[in-house]
């Protein structure tokens, strides 16, 4: 049993194993106010996590204000400005069509951050629903859902993604759907583990004894208590989703030019590398790196804040 729990909880690059093994972090978000404050306080004490949160907030604000923070239009072609290095006029230089890299980076951030967010919504919706059903109902429902996750997890995710992405006309929407629909098994297994652990607790038996039906049990008693784990998982998945979007777009199977995304900016700048235009590769990659790092730090801090047992180690 223990081996299985450990195995199932480790998602592609995270360290989520500890979450499932052992006691579950409980209903922090529905807890009385002082309890909630403790969680907030613990989070704020973690400097790395706060740095992650601040970075993410800044990135989202800048992306939301995209037209206001750059002097140039992201799509404006300027003749005679091909591949100019960073300067006072063009902070991060221009690309091979003379477009301002900073303007494209900000616009691309809008696209990449939104794509990551939308994909994670799909991942967590499918993952939570199927995982909850599997954990709560058990039996053949559990068997079918878990075998499906076994099958999907046996194919390396990136292989599944490029196969699926190459089937449809590549676009922002296709990218989001492909990532969302292919990546849920990890989340499903995690939520299933939580529901299985919670289902056996006395307060659930008590609620059942006073006549709570499956819907009420799941929505009022199990889901709120699994929410902390789900939120941490979603935060970590935001970083994977942004990386996956970038990978697909870099391969030309994701977001298509002229719509900029960090991934397709990397693809577009790659051929200019030979002419020494390093700024076209450096900055979009740096943006992806910082975002992924920030989400990881924040997710890790959230987990520590929500689960004191984990923090002690």
């Amino acid at each position: 049993m223990e081996t299985e729990q450990r195995r199932l909880a480790v998602t592609p690059r995270g360290l989520e194993a500890e979450l499932v093994v052992g006691a579950a972090p409980l209903a922090k978000l529905l807890a009385p106010a002082p309890r909630r404050l403790v969680v907030v306080k613990r989070f704020l004490e973690n400097r790395l996590a706060v740095a992650g949160l601040v970075t993410i907030v800044i990135f989202y604000v800048v992306a939301a204000l995209a037209p206001l923070v750059s002097r140039y239009d992201y799509d404006a072609l300027q003749s005679g400005m091909r591949n100019t290095p960073p300067s006072a006029e063009h902070w991060l230089g221009t690309d091979r069509a003379g477009r301002d890299v900073y303007a494209r980076l900000v616009k691309g951030g809008q696209v990449s951050l939104a794509a990551g967010f939308a994909a994670v919504v799909i991942v967590m919706t499918i993952g939570t629903s199927l995982g909850a059903a599997a954990g709560f109902f058990g039996g053949w429902v559990d068997a079918i859902i878990m075998r499906l996750t076994d099958i999907l997890l046996s194919i390396p995710l990136i292989l599944l993604l490029i196969t699926a992405a190459s089937l449809f006309r590549p676009s922002l929407r296709t990218t989001i759907i492909v990532i969302g629909v292919s990546s849920w098994p990890g989340a499903a297994r995690l939520v299933r583990g939580q529901f299985l652990a919670l289902k056996g607790q006395e307060y659930v038996t008590a609620a059942r004894a006073i006549g709570a039906g499956p819907v009420r049990l799941m929505s009022r008693h199990l889901f709120p208590n699994a929410l902390a784990v789900i939120i941490v998982e979603a935060t970590l998945w935001l970083s994977y989703a942004i990386l996956l979007e970038a990978s697909l777009s870099y391969l030309g199977l994701g977001v298509q030019i002229p719509t900029p995304s960090w991934g397709n900016m990397l693809q577009d700048g790659q051929r200019e590398l030979l002419y020494g235009a390093w700024w076209l590769t450096l900055f979009p990659g740096l943006a992806i790196f910082l975002t992924v790092l920030a989400f990881n730090l924040m997710g890790d801090g959230l987990r520590d804040a929500l689960d004191p047992r984990h923090r002690r180690r």
């Binding site: 081996t3 690059r13 360290l15 046996s154 292989l159 089937l167 990386l243 790659q270």
Partner: protein, 317 residues
Amino acid sequence: MLAYMARRVLFLIPLLLGLSAIMFALVRAAPGDPVVAMMGPQAASNPGYVEQARENLGLNEPLPVQYAIWIGNLVQGDFGIAYTFNNKPVLTLIGERFWGTIQLQSLALFIGLAIAVPVGIISATRQYSTLDNTITVSSFIGLAVPNFWLALLLQIWLSVELGWLPTLSGGQDNVGWSERWKFFVMPVLVLALPNIAYFARFMRSSMLEVIHQDYVTTARAKGLTSRTVLYRHALRNALIPMITVVGLQLPRILSGAVIIEQIFAWPGLGGLAYDAIGRRDYPVILGLTMLTGAAVMVVNIVVDFVYVLADPRVSVS
């Protein structure tokens, strides 16, 4: 124990059937025509040729029949012939590329473990020290770097600017190892980095968990030196969860790093998969995913089995 293992192995049959059905449906839902990709635009402009080729490849049969034929051949070890790649048998193609991927990935795995295990131990034994904090931050950074971006930066720096290393992998078969190792440096570095970061973090938390166990305190109370306690008592148990973590890397190892092999033009399975998908070469895509999937499922069983052997506290019930 044996019965449990036998059940797990028997269970592979429905799992593999499920995998084959999903992959077949996915690949065949593709709108592009493999016949056109195979014949090239010139020959494909003649509808008679295209029709003949479709007939020869069995693509005119209804899908369920095609699926049944494919599965029937698969069971007999016949993975079919590639539509492109000079129509080589799929297994030959995979065999040609297999070693390239295994060499690259096992090197990255080995280097990852060789660095991460000691680093994780040091980090755990000096928890919250400056060294530990530096290692923790570094591993977060190592995990967040998009590896294809790192590959591009290394290419521009180490091979275009400095000229120390070859940019692409072509021609590595024609030189001896005194030259050949240069082809490995960048891809191995790029692939090992996330391994180091990931394994080190896992090793640290695994070690910390063990250090706080009662039996370690007992060993200390008996008066054993901290060195003995650490290496004889703690480390051996802390290494057990690493079996699972390393096992989990195997899908990636077996399928090859699709993007990294692509960037370095490495002659491996990842590059093969990418090319095959681009050319809509169904038999190659399906052959690769089926072999990888099967290998991953088998490895999962083996990992659980080894885990039970290594840790007597775990039972299979």
